[in-house]
C-alpha cells in the first residue's frame, strides 16, 4: 500500500487530508472525533483577539444550491471566526495536540492588521504546542467589513506585511490562506512568500448570494427579511480553486513553493487532482459538513488504491505531476484535430447532441439517415469542440477521435500537419512571432 504520510512545511501528518478551518474544527469535541475518524490534520477554526469574542447571527447562516435529489452542490455561509473565548480555544488546542501527537494541528488566526495584535497572539498559540499557524486573509463577509479577512487578502502589501510580522514573532511554520475574491491570485501569493510564508493555502470562500426568495424578495440565507453576501464553497467551487492552485504552481516566481489545496474537495479523486496540480496537502470543509467525518476513509483508500495502480509509492510522486501540462492558450497545438464519433451501439437516440450542435454550435450532427432517426457526425462541419460529448447522457457514447497526421480534415479540406504549431506562429495572428512553447 502506498505511503500517504506527508511532511508539509515541516508539519507531519499520516495522510494529506486535513480539515479546513471551519465549523468541523471549532472545538476539541469535533477535532477529536475527526482524528478518531482518521483525518490527518486540522486547521483549527480561526481565532480572534483576546477579549469578548465575535457574535454570530442567531438565524440561518447557510444558503445552498442543490441537484435534483437534494445533492448539495454548493454551500454559502455568513459565519464569522470563532465565537468562543480565546483562552478556551487555546486550552483545548493544547490538550488535543498532547493527546494526538501524530496529527497535524494548525491554528488559524485573524486579528486586526496591526503589528501589536499579531505580536500579542502568536506566543499564546505557540505555547499550545500547535504545529503551525494559518493566516486567515480570506473570509469575505463580516470580518472584511472590520478591515480583516479578505480586506487584507485583497491587498498584497498587507499580506506581505502581516506574514513578515508572523515570521518575526513565532518560530511556527506560517501558512497564508488566500482569498479568491481577487483578479490575479498570483499577486497575493507572491506577496505571502516574499513576506516569508512557508506555504499558501487556497481557496477560501467566494463572495456569493445563493438565491433570492421570490416571495419575500430577501436574499438567502435570510435574517429577518434581509441577507448579505456570504462565502461560497463545496463541489461547485472546485474548478475555480483548481485553476487558482495551478496558477500559483506554474508561476516561475513561485516554483516549488508549498500549496495546501482547498475548495470543493469531496472525494479522493478531487484530492488527487489538487495534488497533481501542486498541492502538498488538501483541506476539506463542505464535504465533511455534508456527510460527516467518515468520508475520510473513502479518501484514504481511494487515493491509496489509485497510487498503487499507478505505481506511486509516496505522495511526492503525485504532487505537481500535472503542472507542466498547464499552459497558456497561445501554446496549444493548433494542428491537433479531432472529430466527434458516435458509437451507434451505445447511442439511445435522445437527440441532445444534435440539437446542441444544431442550435448552438456548428450544425455538424445529422438527426436522420435514410429517413430514419439516427445521429451521425458530419465531418465536413465538425470543429471538434466537444460540446456534444458534454451533453450526451451516455458516458463514452461520443468520443473525440484525433485525426492522424496526413489524414484529410473534411471541414478545412486540408491534410493534418505532422508538426506542432500554435497561435504565436499562426499566419492569422498579427503579432505572430516564432517562439518556443512554455514548458
Amino acid at each position: 500500500m502506498a505511503d500517504l504520510t506527508t511532511t508539509f512545511a515541516g508539519i507531519k501528518s499520516p495522510n494529506p487530508f486535513w480539515l479546513a478551518s471551519a465549523p468541523p474544527t471549532d472545538k476539541a469535541y469535533n477535532v477529536v472525533r475527526a482524528f478518531e475518524a482518521g483525518w490527518g490534520g486540522v486547521v483549527w477554526k480561526t481565532l480572534g483577539e483576546e477579549g469578548p469574542p465575535v457574535v454570530n447571527v442567531n438565524g440561518p447562516r447557510y444558503g445552498a444550491i442543490w441537484g435534483a435529489d437534494r445533492r448539495l452542490l454548493g454551500l454559502n455561509n455568513i459565519e464569522l471566526i470563532t465565537d468562543r473565548d480565546l483562552q478556551t480555544n487555546l486550552r483545548e488546542i493544547k490538550q488535543v495536540k498532547r493527546d494526538w501527537p501524530d496529527r497535524a494541528l494548525v491554528v488559524s488566526i485573524m486579528v486586526p492588521c496591526e503589528e501589536e495584535s499579531w505580536k500579542a497572539i502568536l506566543p499564546l498559540v505557540e505555547e499550545t504546542g500547535a504545529d503551525g499557524i494559518e493566516l486567515n486573509f480570506g473570509c469575505p463577509h463580516g470580518m472584511s467589513e472590520r478591515g480583516m479577512g479578505s480586506a487584507v487578502g485583497q491587498v498584497p502589501e498587507y499580506v506581505e506585511m502581516v506574514a513578515r510580522w508572523c515570521k518575526q514573532y513565532t518560530r511556527m511554520p506560517v501558512i497564508t490562506k488566500l482569498t479568491p475574491n481577487i483578479t490575479d491570485i498570483r499577486k497575493p501569493a507572491r506577496a505571502a512568500f516574499s513576506g516569508g510564508s512557508d506555504a499558501v493555502s487556497l481557496i477560501n470562500t467566494i463572495n456569493s448570494i445563493t438565491a433570492v426568495d421570490l416571495d419575500s424578495f430577501s436574499p438567502e440565507p435570510s435574517i429577518d427579511g434581509k441577507g448579505t453576501h456570504g462565502g461560497y464553497c463545496g463541489p461547485a467551487v472546485k474548478p475555480i480553486a483548481l485553476s487558482m492552485v495551478s496558477e500559483i504552481a506554474r508561476d516561475p516566481e513561485m516554483r516549488g513553493k508549498l500549496i495546501s489545496g482547498i475548495g470543493g474537495i469531496t472525494t479522493w479523486r478531487d484530492a488527487a487532482e489538487f495534488m497533481a496540480l501542486g498541492a502538498g496537502t488538501v483541506q476539506v470543509c463542505t464535504a465533511a459538513m455534508t456527510y460527516g467525518f467518515k468520508i475520510v476513509q473513502e479518501m484514504i483508500t481511494g487515493l491509496s488504491n489509485y497510487m498503487d495502480e499507478k505505481g506511486f509509492t509516496s505522495v511526492d510522486d503525485l504532487v505537481g505531476r500535472a503542472v507542466p501540462n498547464v499552459t497558456d492558450w497561445q501554446y496549444l497545438n493548433l494542428n491537433y484535430v479531432t472529430k466527434a464519433r458516435i458509437n451507434q451501439d451505445l447511442c439511445i437516440s435522445c437527440g441532445r447532441c444534435h440539437i446542441a450542435c444544431e442550435d448552438t454550435s456548428h450544425q455538424a450532427i445529422f438527426n436522420e439517415v435514410d429517413g430514419k432517426r439516427m445521429f451521425v457526425v458530419n465531418d465536413e462541419e465538425c470543429v471538434g469542440c466537444n460540446l456534444c460529448v458534454n451533453v450526451c447522457p451516455v458516458e463514452d457514447c461520443i468520443t473525440m477521435e484525433q485525426l492522424a497526421p496526413g489524414q484529410l480534415d473534411e471541414r478545412t479540406g486540408k491534410r493534418v500537419a505532422e508538426d506542432y504549431a500554435n497561435w504565436t506562429t499562426h499566419p492569422n495572428n498579427p503579432m505572430a512571432k516564432v517562439r518556443e512553447p512554455a514548458e
Binding site: 441537484g67 435534483a68 435529489d69 437534494r70 439511445i348 437516440s349 435522445c350 437527440g351 441532445r352 444534435h354 440539437i355 438527426n367 432517426r373 447522457p393 451516455v394
Partner: protein
C-alpha cells in the same frame, strides 16, 4: 380472515371490511413533490422526443416534465391539457408501457423509462385540486353542436368545441357522464371519484350542457340532431359484447357489466363474487375483471385465452399485474360449454386449441374447470342499431362507424370518434385525440 372467504358459490362479503379499501386503493401511489422533481430530473429533454411521438395526443412530454423539474406544476399541467384535456385520467389509465414509456430513450438505455404517467398525474393533480382553469372560450360563435356520448371522445370534443366558442350539448344514455372512465376503468386506477372530478373540472370552461339519461335511438334520434344542430359528433363507444359461441353462454356474466357494477358500488363488501372464477378473454377487460374478482376475495381466478401469450392484447405489464395478484393465466383454451346445475354455474368446459396453418382449431382434448362464476371478456361490439334505427344510414366499416382522417362520417355534418369508429386503438387516450381533432374539424367546417 373473514369467514366469507371460502363461502361456496357467488357470495358477498368475502373479506374483512377494511381489506376492501386496501385492495382497491391507488395502483400507483401519487408522487410527492420531491419524488416528482427527482423523477423529472431523469428526463433528458430529448430533441424530437420519441415519447412525444408515441403519445396519441402528442403531449409535449419533455416540456411538461421540465416544468415539473423547475417547480412550475401549473405550467406543466397546461402543457398537458393543451393537447389532452383528459390528461389526468390518461395519466392513470394509459398503458404507458406500450406508449410513451416504451419509446422513452431511458427504456432503451437502462430498461427504466422516465415515469411519464406518474409525472403527468402529479402535474394535472395540482391543477385540478386547485381548480385552476387555463382556457377561456372564444367569443360565442352562435353555432350549436350535439355530442352523443360523454366518454373520453365526447368530452374531449365538447371541451375543444367550447374553446372555439360553440355551444355544446352532450347527450349520454347513462346516469353519469364519463363513459368508461366512470363505468369501465379498473377501480384501483381511478380512485376517489376522479372521473367525476375531471368531468366537473372540464365543463367549467362553460358552454357545455350535459344531458344524462338521453340515448340516441331512444329519447333522441340522429335525424333530429342533424336538423336541430349545426353539427353532430358521435362518441358512443361500444354498446354490445361479443358472443362466446359456447353452449349455456347465458349463464356467463358480461365482464364489462360486472366492472360497471363494481365501479358504481357504494359498498364493495356487498358485491357478490364467485369463490372460483373463470374469465374468458385476453385483453385489458379480461385482466381487469380477473384482478378485481381476486381483490373482492375470490379464492381462485383463472383467465382462459384461446391463443398464446404473445397474442394477448393485454400488455406484459397488465399480465404481470394479474400474476402478482394471484390470477392464473392459461393459454390455448377455447370455451365450449358453461356448465350449470339448478341454474347456477358449476364449471366451464373448454377445448384445447392449436394453430393449423395459421388457423385456430380445437385439438379435441377437453378440460373442465370448476367455477361458480364465468365472465366473458372477449371484446365489445358497436351497437349500430341506435344509429340506423333513428335516422339516415351511416356507412360502417368492420362493424364500426367509418370516418376519414378528420373524423368525418359518410353523413354531412356528422363526425365520430373514439371506440365507435373503425381502425382505432380502443384506448382512452386515442378516444381523446379523435374527439379533439374532430372538434377542430367541426370548427373549420362551421367557420367556412
Amino acid at each position: 380472515m373473514a369467514i366469507g372467504q371460502f363461502a361456496k358459490g357467488v357470495a358477498a362479503g368475502r373479506l374483512d371490511p377494511e381489506q376492501y379499501a386496501e385492495n382497491f386503493s391507488d395502483l400507483h401511489e401519487p408522487f410527492t413533490e420531491h419524488e416528482a422533481r427527482v423523477e423529472a430530473d431523469r428526463c433528458y429533454f430529448c430533441y424530437d422526443a420519441p415519447c412525444m411521438n408515441a403519445c396519441p395526443t402528442q403531449i409535449d412530454i419533455p416540456m411538461f416534465i421540465r416544468q415539473i423539474a423547475t417547480e412550475n406544476p401549473l405550467g406543466s399541467a397546461k402543457t398537458i391539457f393543451d393537447q389532452n384535456i383528459l390528461g389526468g385520467m390518461c395519466a392513470r389509465v394509459c398503458p404507458t408501457e406500450t406508449l410513451c414509456e416504451e419509446a422513452c430513450v431511458r427504456e432503451a438505455a437502462e430498461g427504466k423509462p422516465v415515469q411519464i404517467g406518474r409525472l403527468q398525474r402529479y402535474a394535472t393533480d395540482v391543477a385540478i385540486s386547485q381548480d385552476v382553469q387555463f382556457y377561456e372560450r372564444a367569443p360565442r360563435s352562435g353555432k350549436r353542436v350535439a355530442v352523443v356520448g360523454a366518454g373520453p371522445a365526447g368530452l374531449a370534443c365538447a371541451h375543444r368545441l367550447a374553446m372555439h366558442g360553440h355551444d355544446v350539448t352532450v347527450f349520454d344514455a347513462r346516469e353519469k357522464p364519463g363513459g368508461l372512465n366512470e363505468y369501465g376503468i379498473a377501480a384501483y386506477k381511478s380512485v376517489d371519484g376522479f372521473a367525476q372530478a375531471e368531468v366537473d373540472y372540464l365543463v367549467e370552461i362553460g358552454g357545455i350542457a350535459i344531458e344524462n339519461g338521453k340515448a340516441l335511438g331512444r329519447e333522441i334520434a340522429l335525424s333530429g340532431l342533424v336538423a336541430d344542430y349545426d353539427a353532430v359528433f358521435l362518441g358512443m363507444g361500444l354498446g354490445g359484447v361479443n358472443d362466446l359461441h359456447a353452449e349455456g353462454e347465458d349463464a356467463a356474466v358480461n365482464a364489462v357489466d360486472f366492472i360497471a357494477e363494481l365501479r358504481q358500488a357504494s359498498d364493495l363488501s356487498a358485491l357478490p363474487v364467485g369463490r372460483r372464477v373463470v374469465v374468458i378473454g385476453g385483453g385489458m377487460t379480461a385482466i381487469d375483471a380477473a384482478v378485481q374478482s381476486k381483490l373482492l376475495g375470490a379464492e381462485d381466478v383463472t383467465i382462459c385465452y384461446r391463443r398464446g401469450k404473445e397474442n394477448m392484447n393485454a400488455s406484459v405489464f397488465e399480465q404481470d399485474l394479474a400474476a402478482a395478484n394471484g390470477v392464473t393465466i392459461r393459454h390455448w383454451l377455447a370455451p365450449k360449454r358453461v356448465l350449470t346445475e339448478d341454474g347456477k354455474v358449476t364449471g366451464i368446459e373448454l377445448e384445447y386449441t392449436m394453430l393449423d396453418n395459421a388457423r385456430l382449431t380445437g385439438t379435441g382434448e377437453v378440460l373442465i374447470l370448476p367455477a361458480d362464476q364465468v365472465f366473458k371478456a372477449i371484446g365489445q361490439t358497436f351497437a349500430s342499431s341506435a344509429l340506423n334505427g333513428s335516422g339516415p344510414v351511416i356507412a360502417l366499416e368492420n362493424g364500426r362507424i367509418k370516418v376519414d382522417a378528420e373524423g368525418r362520417t359518410s353523413l354531412d355534418r356528422v363526425w365520430a370518434g373514439g371506440d365507435c369508429v373503425a381502425g382505432g386503438e380502443d384506448l382512452t387516450v386515442s378516444a381523446v385525440a379523435m374527439g379533439r381533432d374532430a372538434a377542430d374539424s367541426i370548427n373549420r367546417a362551421l367557420g367556412a
